[in-house]
Amino acid sequence: MTNLIDLTLSDLVKKIKSKEISSKEITSVYIERSNKSKKLNTYVEQTFDEAIKNSEKFDNNPNFNKKLSGIPLAVKDLFCTKNVKTTAGSKILENFVPTYEATVTQNLWNEGAILLGKLNCDEFAMGSSNETSYFGNVISPIDDNLVPGGSSGGSASALAAKLTPATIGTDTGGSIRQPASFTGTVGLKPTYGSCSRYGIVAFASSLDQAGPMTRDVKDCALMLEVISSFDPKDSTSINFKRPNYFSDLNKNIKGKKIGIPKEYRVDGMPTEIENLWEKGKTYLKDCGAEIIDISLPHTNYALPAYYIVAPAEASSNLARYDGVKYGFRADGENLIDMYEKTRSLGFGDEVKRRIMIGTYVLSSGYYDAYYLKAQKVRKLIKNDFDKVFNKVDAILTPSTPSSAFKIGDKTNDPVSMYLNDIFTVPVNLAGLPGISIPAGLDKNNYPLGLQIIGKPFDEQVILDIAFSMEEKINFKLKTNDWWIK
């Protein structure tokens, strides 16, 4: 029998439902492994005792009609969890305990899942390497000097190191797909409005989406089916008929038209990635799909537009962390002094950088030149996608322009760090669904991912395409558990 830890989420659910294993058994296995894996610094908060209690509760009175019956899960620490510390990776929320639950995590618990703990992330999800967290950087299980990507770096690392059978992250500019790509896992950013933002610590409200991070595409479909829901508590949540992503998942993509955007062939992209992309095209053809060359002419402007819109929204969203109501407060001579000290000490450098950029681009006299212009660019990018989606069903691109980089490599060069998001950012700006699947390894044996972008609410189509490619690619993530003492 395979090691329990190696079972995919969907297999695990089966085994629990067939009573081959108990919830407590599997929960204990994950806790034990997590305890041995502290070196990776994936957890910000562990709720292991509570998890054991909950698994016992499940086993005593099991309900096997749920989609995640008795499954232990750790989630990104950007989701507010009732009575469990939620920090967003920031000192300013170091001791913040919400009295409420995010809608997407509530959906997990409603389907029988059990919380294992909260996973490290870049501070307020601002980062591409999980090096901006107040609680220290996360190490990738791929190699001891490698970043796991970000901002859902703790989630990606924990998933790849098998400290949780699956997880959820949030993706504002690539924060699910890029770390998934770096760690050889599957990550999906749903269409904007598919998953509720209620109870998620906000970074950039018009871009933020929660999404699944899993070991394979099947698990991804299962997790998406659980977390996606219409929520009246989020005014941007959309009420559409959600398919049964998991049970409807199939490999029949015959006749699907897949676009290859020429603008994603950027200068300095490693040939390995170029080759992988070619291989992806071949696999798709083998599955009966048709490859069509397309153009997304405004792609080049996506990153600059993103780094105006996202910081602008963030500068306003983070104004509430002022030391008055909750979270960290530094003493001050007066109100203004207290604000200044609280926010100076409470926020890290990257967060401060973005608050300053955001404040600047919204100031009177600069608003039209930056924020308004960026919104126009955003519209053009959306139009680009709308146009090509008249011709194709989905788009295939690399997930990132490089494989994972070394810890500390880009921390002093924010722009080079931001450039890591060039393939993922346009998808957020256009509000589209995108999935990253592991596609191969580079010369250092670091994983590389391919991204499939779909039409709005067409998650089923990109999942089906990913599912077909996954079989052809047959990627096997190999880590030798080097971090376990």
Binding site: C80, T86, A88, L93, F96, P98, T99, Y100, A102, R197, Y198, G199, I200, V201, A202, A204, S205, S206, P232, K233, D234, S235, T236, A312, E313, S315, S316, L318, A319, R320, D322, V324, K325, Y326, L335, Y339, T359, L362, S363, S364, Y367, Y371
Partner: protein, 487 residues
């Protein structure tokens, strides 16, 4: 120059005063603009605060449709353009009683556009332009005088829906401001969209004041006086501010554009911040809220709920009941007064009812500082009293006596008449006896009258009334007396 005009004279120069108001009217609603918290006034601090109102991480605003309907309703009442698409923006600034660090407001695309309000000036109607009406959240309240060491914050008001109603700079005097606020309040109370209670802060205003030489058509530099919460203070602030600006100009100085505060203890305005120090609010569309879009049907459905408004009611009173414009204006100015009046005239003579309400009843209310809905005399009993006059049961004079009794205890006037025996004596036979008695005992005066001293007629009437203990019907007394003396 009309007699209504408000002019400031200094060194033989005449200045007119230009005033525009930004009125903040609290939307009459059980719950807040973006949360389900209650809005009851005077509750214990921080008992009406949701996680959204206190801006907890991950909390999101959800529009309260009722508040939207209230704003549209108000817009219709102001004869204004209703914008089928409007946008909520964030107005960013830091303050302890502003939990989000921004106020959700409407900036470039308000829900209501240009409209009008008509004032009834003694010289005739004057139309004041409305620039716009937009929806926004109220902030919380900072309390500085309870704890000596710190400021306390009460978030009960945080998130309560306000309508900011911006007038064009069409007002020209403190009196016009008085009439404008009262008219606005009256319209909103008719509509049920704002209770207009200034003591509770449901209605407050920022007042923009500038002056210019009479005859000039160029606007002067304005100052904005923030957050004045009574009509009296608004008027005082305008008078002070206008005179201050005239002084400056007459001394050869310029008026600086600035925000000022009205000090209610000194009755002065003082500088709060200059234009240079003005906040940069970094407005941008709130990404948590989609643009607010509705269709014609939505507006049409609300139009069906609009009651008769003061101006329409006034015209009806004038046309249907032949009331004077003055009487009609007074009777419709307040919704409760008009309701009281309409209740009384259900069963009583219109003209007499108007007279009694605007005369005796208003005097009584004024004297005791009461609102009409606190009137010690119910409309039903006032109606009965008026009917007793109409049918000749009592005289107007007796009616005043009964009214006074009623003001102390709201009793059916018929009962008072019976108990006190105040019924008017209208029997000609009985009155003739009394008259005969008066004439017999005043033979010398009768002779004087007959020899031409007409003025004595009043004396005889008075004597007869005295004999009747005030209950004699004056018309009949007059008639019989005339017959007797002239016959």
């Amino acid at each position: 120059m009309s007699k209504d005009q408000y002019i400031i004279e200094k060194n033989e120069n005449k200045y007119e005063v230009i005033i525009g108001l930004e009125v903040h009217a609290q939307v009459l609603s059980e719950s807040k603009l973006f949360s389900t918290s209650a809005t009851k006034f005077g509750s214990e601090p921080n008992t009406q605060v949701s996680l959204v109102d206190a801006a907890f991480p991950g909390m999101l605003p959800v529009i309260n449709e009722f508040c939207i309907r209230q704003a549209v309703k108000t817009g219709i009442g102001l004869n204004a353009i209703i914008n089928k698409k409007s946008i909520f923006d964030r107005k960013n600034y830091f303050y302890a009683d502003l939990p989000q660090g921004y106020q959700i407001s409407q900036y470039k695309d308000p829900i209501v556009g240009e409209g009008t309000v008509v004032l009834d000036l003694p010289s005739g109607p004057k139309t004041i332009g409305i620039e716009r009406l937009h929806l926004e959240q109220d902030a919380g309240k900072s309390i500085h005088d309870v704890d000596p060491g710190s400021t306390l914050v009460d978030l009960n008001r945080s998130g309560v829906a306000l309508m900011e109603i911006v007038s064009k700079p069409d007002l020209r005097s403190p009196e016009e401001v008085n009439l404008y606020i009262k008219k606005l309040r009256s319209i909103m109370r008719y509509l049920g969209t704002c209770d207009g209670n200034m003591q509770e802060g449901s209605l407050r205003a920022d007042v923009n004041v500038s002056v210019r030489k009479l005859g000039s058509d160029k606007l002067g530099t304005r100052c904005e006086i923030k957050n004045v919460n009574s009509i009296k203070f608004m008027q005082m602030a305008i008078e002070y501010e206008a005179n201050r600006q005239v002084e400056l100009l007459e001394e050869g100085n310029v008026v600086d554009q600035e925000t000022r505060l009205f000090d209610t203890k000194k009755n002065q305005t003082r500088s709060m911040r200059s234009k240079e120090d003005a906040h940069d609010y970094r407005y941008f569309p709130d990404p948590d809220l989609l643009p607010l879009v509705f269709d014609n049907q939505f507006i049409e459905n609300i139009k069906k709920e609009i009651p008769e408004l003061p101006d329409q009611k006034k015209n009806r009173f004038i046309e249907k009941f032949k009331l004077s414009p003055y009487e009609a204006t007074i009777l419709v100015s307040d919704l409760d007064t008009s309701k009281f009046f309409e209740k009384v005239i259900e069963k009583s003579d219109v003209k007499l009812s108007a007279n009694w309400i605007t005369g005796e009843l208003f005097a009584l209310l004024n004297e005791n500082n009461l609102e009409i809905n606190e009137s010690p005399i119910s409309p039903e009993n006032l109606s009965k009293l008026i009917n007793l006059i109409s049918d000749g049961t009592i005289s107007g004079k007796i009616a005043k006596t009964i009214f006074e009794i009623m003001s102390k205890e709201d009793k059916d006037p018929n009962i008072i008449v019976d108990e006190k025996g105040l019924k008017q004596e209208s029997d000609p036979k009985a009155l003739e006896d009394l008259i005969q008695k008066v004439l017999s005992s005043n033979k010398d005066k009768v002779n004087e009258y007959k020899s031409g001293k007409d003025k004595l007629f009043g004396f005889f009437v008075g004597q007869v009334m005295k004999e009747s203990k005030g209950k004699g019907n004056p018309q009949i007394i007059n008639k019989i007396l005339k017959e007797k003396l002239n016959g």
